[in-house]
Amino acid sequence: MDAKIETKNLNLYYGDYHSLKGVNIAIPPRSITAIIGPSGCGKSTLLRCFNRMNELIPGVIIEGEILLDGENIHQQGTDLIRLRRRVGMVFQRPNPFPLSIADNITYGLRVHGTPPGQKHSDIVENSLRATLLWEEVKDKLHSPALALSPEQQQRLCISRVLAIEPEILLMDEPCSALDPIATDHIEDLMRDLSESYTIIIVTHNMQQASRVSSWSAFMLMGELIEFGPTVRIFNNPRDKRTEAYISGRYG
């Protein structure tokens, strides 16, 4: 199986600090890959490499290659806006714009353009249906998004990303601000979405990683220690450091 996105000997420095050390990982398409590891291990940094978000931080140096469908995303002439449309991101805290529900969805279309032959109203409905939010909000599409519950806001943020038809969804601790029932809903949604999208999730929650992902990557101090099927990683990890971390003996 060809990787959807992969890194080759990826190194990243924040000034003098060596944050990612020779990371080689090939993310399988249409599946959920969880990146786990202790705070500061580089998992969010790695996630942000996939849509070149780290470059917004001054002093960052990146070496190595990142291939999206085999093409280097760092090569000259890469259209950053197009890259970020293909590789969308959902953040830890739901961050809807202070606009109406419908305007949150169509905002991205104004930046990235509307696909030919599609109406905004259809895109709003389809994106909200994909996250099972439609039935809950269809009668108040022009109400402020910030009036929604945190879980609804997070689903709206996912809808907003889906509206621009990405191929990869990057999720950085997408449930850490949600209660267990809302978390359950988002995890169900992730499983549904993984049939069409490649999802990469960073999580501190080990149970979430084991419940939701098909592939798991364990990182420690900037290195990718182990990557493999989640069942194997959580049943019989090959590296003692992985075992120590997932069974709570780290540190």
Partner: protein
């Protein structure tokens, strides 16, 4: 939470080893009762099985509690699964000891003791398998576990001998067939103890190496570098 969890795991280990000690004692007493035709000792074996049954249920509940509250993974998860399976095997070994004890009572009380077979070698092998399988568990030693599995064939061979002995006996002395049938039943239960010990050994290999070799233990032994199985 981790320290608490470690404590729970240690407690569980102590409990399964305590059950193992009870079961080994029960088998030892059954074998002694057999050698000495001692029905009183056989009754002790039957009476003490109740305790084995209670401890088995206790251990299972303990495992359920740990799974529900701590959601262990990796080696910890395999340890809980291993304890659950070994727990059931030990309880069944206890039952086999009781069955031997019951057969001894019938055999002696029905006056069949003029028909007999020297079970010493078979019983010793089955007991050694049980002991070594538990040793493998204590030390997380896959090599010892593989050796236990290899021993099972020898017990099966003796079981075949008993079969032939009983068949010949029933043909030549049909009036004593009742005695022969008790001997056959006793040998069957000893053979089952060896089988359960072999199952425990397979679980230990799963615990240590994370692979299930059940139903293909012999192939696994051939493929494996025999003697280098331990990763503990």
């Amino acid at each position: 939470m981790t320290r608490h969890f470690q404590h729970e795991i240690e407690k569980l280990k102590v409990r399964i080893l305590a059950l193992a000690a009870l079961v080994e004692k029960s088998v030892r007493n059954a074998v002694t009762a057999l050698a000495e035709r001692d029905t009183e000792m056989a009754q002790v074996v039957i009476g003490e099985d109740r305790e084995i049954d209670l401890v088995e249920v206790d251990i299972e509940e303990e495992c359920q509690k740990i799974l529900a509250l701590h959601q262990p993974v990796a080696h910890d998860l395999r340890f809980i699964i291993a304890v659950l399976k070994i727990n059931a095997e030990l309880e069944r070994i206890g039952d086999a000891a009781v069955s031997i004890a019951e057969q001894i009572c019938y055999w002696v009380n029905e006056g069949h003791t003029d028909v007999s077979y020297d079970f010493e070698s078979m019983a010793k092998k089955a007991q050694a398998m049980l002991h070594n399988s538990l040793d493998a568990l204590v030390n997380f030693n896959a090599q010892t576990a593989f050796e236990v599995i290899a021993e099972d064939d020898k017990v099966d061979e003796i079981y075949g001998d008993v079969h032939r002995f009983v068949r010949r006996g029933v043909q030549s002395a049909p009036h004593q067939s009742g005695g022969f049938i008790h001997l056959l039943a006793i040998s069957r239960h000893i053979e089952r103890i060896a089988d359960h010990a072999s199952n425990i050994a397979e679980v230990v290999i799963y615990l240590v190496e994370g692979r299930i070799i059940r139903h293909r233990a012999k192939d696994a032994m051939k493929q494996d570098t025999f003697g280098n199985g331990s990763q503990s």
